[in-house]
Point group: C2
Chain length 393, copies 2
């Protein structure tokens, strides 16, 4: 029987030009910690100036923390949280891609709580202590599309010393406000656009086959698959295609809503194992490398849902033997990956060796056990290793 809780307390401003509305939108404080990456894009393209101008327009003061790295390191989170506390910042504004927004969430949480982030993380070597205080309010201004962090409570943070890359969140780490302005995304190069778009695709597919899928998450999931299959090849081809950018931004937003109403499954866990042990391997690329063997494995356990997803991708199943029908989803997914130029990514290109697969699988089961629990079939360590080995090129 249908049974779920729904809560997406984030206000979202979505559309071309929406960044301009920031100066009129009610913001949750008078002193912002503005968080950006350690790269140059936010300054060079003028995005940071536009955000700061909007804050000034509202007489909101700000400090800037500009050291966030790809995959969000725990150490920088702790440093920035201390900085926010010392300066009495009353909200955190993240401007950037998924790593920066996740950093903003983690900083907002640790600015209001004692100890170390890993005291609260509930998997891996996290201590799982209860979070005492609500995070500072969070504002998210996205410059990439795909992680969905703008519409969920989840942050992914990497503890490089421990080689753990873990997803975590509490109700107060939903952003209060998220701004998705596709114009800010036109600078994302084709490869990153493709792998981030596939992150949304996989979150949709995983959310659809997860055992806690709800009728609300299902509507979102199918809409995402439709949008990504139609628009991702276009925007990879031409990054300035604003209609396609907008629709992929929408898919990214909806993928956050899927995570707020369903969950990812163990594909995300296994990928975290890869990136935790090979930090240069981007998360979206890792998901792509694993996707064919992962979904081929699960097709037999959730055949009806695979067939539904196949139909959304335009695949025909009439006349096929029953056992082949769910696999048409995998074929259609591969064709879409080819159309986006990301069908043949290789772990070996990122220094991963085939002998490491058991380490990766153990890491995944230890650090992201919560998502294995969302599968409709419980993957053993050996099966996880097999999926990794089959994915290895």
């Amino acid at each position: 029987m249908i049974d779920f809780d729904f809560s997406i307390p984030t206000k979202v401003l979505f559309g071309v030009g929406k960044l301009d509305e920031l100066k009129r939108e009610k913001l949750p404080g008078k002193l912002a910690l503005v968080v950006i990456s350690n790269g140059k894009t936010m300054r060079e393209r003028g995005y940071l100036d536009r955000v700061l101008a909007a804050l000034k327009h509202q007489n909101i003061d700000y400090m800037i923390y500009d050291k966030i790295t790809v995959n969000t390191g725990k150490d920088e989170v702790m440093e920035a949280a201390q900085f926010a506390r010392d300066n009495f910042c009353d909200f955190v504004l993240g401007l950037g891609g998924g790593s920066v927004i996740d950093a903003a969430k983690a900083i907002a949480l640790m600015a209001r709580n004692p100890g170390d982030l890993w005291d609260y993380i509930v998997t891996g070597s996290g201590k799982g202590l209860p979070v005492k205080n609500a995070a500072l309010p969070i504002v998210a201004i996205l410059t990439t599309a795909g992680t969905g962090t703008e519409a969920d409570q989840w942050m992914v943070v990497t503890n490089r010393a421990l080689k753990e890359m873990i997803g975590f969140g509490v109700p107060s780490t939903f952003p209060a406000l998220s701004v998705l302005d596709p114009e800010l995304m036109v600078s994302v190069p084709p490869f990153l656009t493709a792998i981030q778009g596939f992150d949304a695709f996989f979150q949709a597919a995983e959310g659809f086959i997860a055992k806690i899928a709800t009728p609300i998450s299902e509507a979102f999931s199918l809409q995402i698959l439709r949008l990504v299959s139609k628009y991702l090849p276009r925007v990879v081809q031409n990054g300035n295609d604003l209609e396609a950018r907008t629709n992929i931004a929408l898919a990214g937003l909806l993928s956050g809503m899927v995570q707020s109403t369903s969950s990812c499954t163990s594909l995300h866990s296994i990928e975290h194992g890869l990136t935790a042990t090979h930090p240069d391997l981007p998360h979206g690329a890792g998901l792509l490398m694993l996707s064919e063997s992962y979904f081929s494995f699960f097709a037999r356990y959730v055949p009806d849902r695979f067939i539904k997803m196949a139909h959304i991708l335009g695949a025909e199943t009439d006349g096929l033997p029953d056992e082949e029908k769910p696999l048409t989803f995998v074929k259609a997914m591969k064709a879409l990956q080819e159309a986006c130029g990301v069908a043949d990514l290789k772990m070996s290109d990122y220094g991963v060796q085939i002998g490491e697969m058991e380490i990766v699988a153990r890491n995944a089961h230890k650090t992201m056990s919560n998502l294995f629990a969302m599968d409709r079939y419980s993957l053993s360590l050996k099966e996880t290793v097999d999926i990794l080995i089959q994915s290895y090129k």
Copy 2:
């Protein structure tokens, strides 16, 4: 290009048995004004006792206001708001159907604002003054399904002296918490079940053809049409069919989300004109009476969307002349009304006379002009009268 704001800050607990979670759920205050209708059901079926027990379990005090009438009269709202203010209630809990939840919203608003509700109403003879203060937090516990008020900011209140039935809302009139427990809905008799279920159906269809429809509202709308067409005949047949009740409750919830991400159109305006002038005519029944001529009229202006809705209802359009294709939606809708026993409701049975149609149309345009503005074709007064006359039986 896609452009929208999204905000549904309500937490929803959905599913059979969810009322039992109320005793563990964080509630937004220590002294509740519990609002119920002037009928006997909430006491006789023990729903009120269960809610009060949950409050006691949390050491929350309460007062009770039990005079809410069908279609929510303004006078009772003002009386209850004064009562809440005099007693320093810090949140309002509505237990009942759409009218009671709408009353809870209006009471919560007026408990925190000076003057009269009609000072703030923006259409009809409302003065349209800005609302100064946020409403008290609102908790909604639903015992019927269809209005969607559990997931939107809208309340419909009737000023009987002025014969105005007007929808109104501000961001703070979203419920903080809504509980949808289909077990509480099994007592709703077949006719009410049918007309309330069709309220959700029409909100979905109107939201789908409204000019501010968004990709999120569209996903919700199509899901509602699917659910209502599959489950409403079943639950009208057997009110104890808990699977069907659950799915219709879900359709109702989603219809609130449609109103939070799109809007109703002038069908709701015209119906308000009918019920405002004939208070005994239930809102859902009025919508049903108007639906055939209303949607037949609009089919020519939004043909693609009508065809999409027809397909969701299982209609075939292949081989038909183009101008007939959108009308297959109207036929499928009528067939569904027949399956639910509500295809032949008559205005004359509620004392409406054909000579009143211009008065009704003028009332609709005056009191609910905002929804006429959501149509993709701007209905004139004469066309509105024509739709009413064609609907008259």
